[in-house]
């Protein structure tokens, strides 16, 4: 079985991270920004897994990626709770229009 070289994984992860950054900046919607964040977290996980292939006895990279997935799940849950509250309060989720702390 021919294994893929490490540099290809790293380039794909870099492209994925950049696209996630662009999504998180250009979307005018909180959920769009969350999607960009998910893409960036996936890129970082891809790097961790690609390096973890060269650590076969301990697999620390995969363990770290596992914790990153757990934290991402918690983060998305809390963020969507906040988004629902903000939508109930402002009737919009455009972050440019949510400019008041208290109304």
């Amino acid at each position: 079985m021919s294994t893929i070289p490490l540099i290809h994984f790293l380039i794909v992860a870099a492209a994925l991270f950049s696209i996630g950054l662009a999504v998180a900046i250009t979307k005018r919607n909180v959920i769009g920004i969350l999607i960009g964040l998910e893409l960036m977290l996936n890129a970082v996980n891809l790097n961790l897994v690609a390096f973890s292939r060269h650590d076969p006895t301990f697999l620390r990279g995969q363990l770290f990626a596992l914790f990153v997935i757990v934290v991402a799940a918690a983060e998305v849950t809390v963020a969507l709770g906040i988004v629902l509250r903000v939508y109930g309060h402002y009737q919009t989720i455009d972050p440019d229009q949510v400019s008041d702390l208290k109304k």
């Binding site: 380039i11 950054l21 999504v23 959920i31 999607i35």
Partner: protein
């Protein structure tokens, strides 16, 4: 496939299409995990991201859909949007070039043999229960706190509204 669907997320304007493109991108990342020899992590990715996070995102999109999204915006608003889009593209291209130069200019000294084709499940389980027990417990407590916090945030404290 992964990069293409991620670009589609960036370019589309419909949020629902973006969510489905994210589905394809996450599947692509899971396939790359399999190719990198991380089978357990690929299954975890499928279960948590595709099964959990994506469903939550689609619920969020459907619950916060504003019905009037027609052209009620002025022309200056479009200019502001295009400006932000331009700076976003510029920043991401700059970051990508920086990462690419760094990656192509670096030489990784990789010690140790590469992973063989056996399953990673046993190693992950043993490591998680011996030397990484404290982060494991902290992750459990974090999930509990996130559950309670999200339930409290999503609670409707104003029944009249």
């Amino acid at each position: 496939m992964c990069i293409g669907s991620a670009l589609f997320i960036l370019l589309t304007r419909n949020l629902m299409y973006a969510a489905f493109a994210l589905f394809v991108a996450l599947l692509g990342v899971a396939a790359l995990y399999v190719l990198a020899g991380a089978d357990f992590l690929a299954v975890t990715q499928l279960m948590i991201y595709v099964g959990g996070i994506l469903v939550l995102l689609i619920f969020g999109i459907m619950l916060t859909q504003t019905p009037e999204r027609q052209e009620a915006t002025a022309s200056n608003r479009v200019e502001v949007l295009s400006g932000r889009r331009f700076w976003g593209f510029l920043a991401s291209v700059a970051v990508f070039c920086l990462l690419l130069f760094t990656l192509l200019g670096s030489r990784f000294r990789l010690g140790g043999d590469t992973l063989t084709s056996r399953s990673t499940l046993r190693t992950l389980g043993v490591e998680l229960m011996t030397s990484h027990l404290l982060p494991f417990e902290i992750a459990g407590v974090l999930l509990l706190v996130a559950l309670i916090g999200a339930a409290y945030l999503a609670l409707n404290r104003n029944p009249s509204a």
